[in-house]
């Protein structure tokens, strides 16, 4: 077996996987804290990428600033989506909320097609085409940035949830919303910044991954699908699960595509979902919750 190709495929997989991690973390946070399965999550990924593009071309700022601006703007949109869309639906049945989020997704995707146009766009990053050769392996700077930035951000998210006051409020709300409210936590406020964090992470993923491929308004449906596979693998509501699940999916896809068949690449993700739901419905990496 050729170890250089194997190593290269694992590197490809880890980079793709880190993109999935960022998408899935937002999805899993919103589910954990608000019990909402948000089908519109992928559209925030798409908006993050498109806003980066427009910040670059219209305002002429550099790539890093554009990515940050887009992330902050979409985090703001996340607060808006929660305040004006999900909050009024809070008392409804969860299927109503799920279907409404699907509606929101279609609305944003079609609105984007109307507003941004159907022609594919490309986010120019100064790091995209420069291939760095590390020993026998080839990685572009952009792909290194995707991995490094996502790793730093994930460490930050973990620290935020674990050790800050706001993070602990999120944990409390996730464990028992009524109990949290009784102890004086403003759960509305918690919901708001959970959405901001989730949508910001999706947007950051969009901004980071965009320079590696072309951008079009329906790209969100791809993103939310990968996100769901990772969330199911890692266990709903678990951030560490999303991290491990995302990296695992990336590597498995890349090795499956490389050594079995490329046409099979997407099928691997679905096969994993079925297997996980059959044998470990609580997720691959979480301890069983049925005992609590």
């Amino acid at each position: 077996m050729d170890f250089i190709v194997l190593g290269q495929q694992i590197i490809n997989g880890l980079v793709n996987g880190m993109g999935y991690v960022l998408i899935a973390t937002g999805l899993t946070l919103v589910f954990g804290v608000l019990r909402i399965v948000n089908f519109a999550h992928g559209e925030f990924y798409m908006l993050g990428a498109f806003l980066t593009y427009y910040a670059l071309t219209l305002f002429g700022v550099d790539y890093v600033a554009a990515a940050l601006l887009a992330t902050i703007a979409v985090a703001g949109l996340g607060i808006g989506a929660n305040r004006f869309f999900f909050r009024p639906l809070r008392k409804e049945h969860e299927f109503t909320i799920l279907l409404s989020s699907l509606g929101l997704s279609l609305l944003i995707a079609n609105g984007a097609e109307e507003l941004f146009g159907a022609d594919p766009k490309y986010v120019m990053s100064p790091y995209a085409d420069e291939a760095s050769e590390i020993g026998p392996f080839v990685v572009t700077e952009q792909r290194l940035i995707v991995f490094a930035a996502a790793a730093v951000v994930m460490a930050g998210v973990y620290w935020f949830i674990r050790y800050t006051r706001m993070g602990k409020m999120m944990q409390a709300t996730a464990q028992n919303p009524e109990g949290a409210a009784l102890t004086g936590i403003n759960t509305d406020f918690v919901h708001g910044y959970t959405f901001a964090l989730a949508c910001g992470l999706a947007a950051l993923a969009g901004a980071l991954v965009a320079p590696t491929a072309m951008l079009f308004p329906t790209v969100g449906s791809w993103a939310v699908l990968k996100g769901f596979i990772v969330v199911v693998m890692g266990g709903l509501g678990s951030v560490t699960g999303a991290l491990l699940g995302g990296l695992l999916l990336g590597v498995v896809e890349s090795l499956g595509g490389g050594y079995i068949s490329l046409g099979f690449k997407d099928a691997i993700g679905y096969a994993i979902i079925i297997a996980v739901l059959l044998w470990r419905p609580q997720g691959l990496f979480s301890v069983s919750r049925s005992t609590r």
Partner: protein, 380 residues
């Protein structure tokens, strides 16, 4: 109550007057309706948009000249086939049954054309455009015509050039996993083997893939002299060309026939510089009707005129002229016979149709130089 009665009476009177007056306005003759069925949403949406824009610009050129059949204007009715056979079939049905169009232009993707031709079979003039699968015309019908060269015709011309001019000894393929892609690989394996170019491997990708690094890593490890990229939509094509460069592949890149356009060059950046392709469309040709169309196109739309748009324009052009010569927009036997009986001067040069309705077009070899598509040689 009374008020309402008066209002109703007044409305009725107004309508009656309107009707009485309308014959004067109706002096204008009814338009010739042509259905434009194209992918206007999904991953092929941009290509569909280019196609419809090309048709509109040509319709405008003809209408400004006074239309056809003694002053009838051409009216395009657009439908979205979403790039799928099901939607293509339903669009053709709506065009025929609800909107009562005179003729149909469609079939941008082979899979759609193959399904759609069964709905229009022997019922209405149906021009298929960019689809390349041979069976579109091989199993066509008496009113069916196809403009693009088939993938077999293209690969015959292209492989000769690859054998003679490109100094490569081995090639690897990355192709789309559908009827068109599979047929292409099969063709080239045979044709290139005949001039001793070794085919080192092939990777199929899916219609909605956005990451090709896995496939390209595999192909690069085979160490071929050239990578042949078969990509039918602009967005996936541009991603593949960029990622080839990002994997630090240093060999020759060969672009699949008929899939080069200005947007692709813009999106792919330096990755496409110097790359060859074959096309029916050479933007630097001196054809006068091409120039007229390009001027109109640039006036009406912000995109650059493209091959896909020029094919749409050619469809409108030959249909308009054929209906005009046949003296009717509905006598399909006569129109079909007229189309097959003579040569046509179009914006892409002189063409003729075989008995099966397949167009015989000029095929140009083009190259990307300084971000422009320039013609290098022409064959047929």
């Amino acid at each position: 109550m009374l008020n309402r009665r008066i209002t109703v009476a007044a409305l009725a009177a107004a309508t009656a007057i309107g009707l009485a007056l309308s014959p004067a306005a109706a002096q204008q003759k009814p338009p010739v309706k042509i259905a434009a069925i194209a992918p206007l949403s999904g991953a092929g949406a941009f290509d569909g948009q280019l196609a419809v824009e090309g048709m509109k610009a040509m319709a405008e050129v003809i209408n400004q000249r006074g239309g056809i059949l003694g002053g009838r204007k051409i009216e395009l009715v657009t439908y979205d086939d979403k790039g799928t056979p099901e939607e293509g079939v339903s669009a053709a049905k709506r065009a025929m049954e609800q909107d009562n169009v005179d003729m149909i232009v469609g079939g941008w993707f082979s899979a759609v054309a193959l399904a759609q031709k069964e709905v229009t079979r022997d019922k209405i003039i149906n021009v298929m455009t960019s689809s390349q699968h041979p069976n579109v015309t091989e199993q066509g019908h008496k009113y069916l015509f196809r403009l693009n060269a088939t993938s077999t015709m293209m690969s015959d011309t292209y492989s000769k050039f690859i054998c003679d001019k490109m100094k490569v000894k081995s090639v690897a393929f990355i192709t789309i996993n559908d009827d068109y892609g599979r047929l292409e690989v099969e063709n080239y394996k045979k044709l290139l083997a005949s001039c001793n170019i070794e085919v080192k491997g092939n990777e199929f990708y899916n219609r909605d893939d956005t990451d090709f690094t896995t496939a390209l890593t595999k192909l690069k490890a085979l160490n071929p002299d050239a990578i042949y990229v078969s990509a039918i939509n602009t967005s996936q094509g541009a991603t593949i060309y960029r990622q080839i460069r990002q994997t630090a592949f240093k060999g020759t890149i060969i672009a699949s026939a008929g899939n080069m356009n200005p947007k692709l060059i813009e999106l792919s950046g330096p990755a496409l510089e110097g790359v060859y392709c074959v096309s029916l469309f050479a933007p630097d040709s001196q054809n006068s009707s091409l120039k007229q169309w390009m001027t109109q196109y640039k006036k009406d739309f912000k995109n650059e005129p493209s091959f896909i748009g020029s094919l749409g324009a050619q469809a409108v052009q030959v249909l308009a002229e054929a209906a005009d010569k046949a003296g009717s927009s509905r006598d399909y036997d006569k129109i079909a016979q007229t189309l097959k009986s003579r040569k046509w001067d179009t914006l892409l040069g002189q063409i003729s149709f075989t008995d099966k309705g397949q167009a015989m077009q000029n095929i140009y070899l083009v190259q990307v130089k300084n971000k422009q598509i320039v013609s290098v040689a022409s064959g047929s």
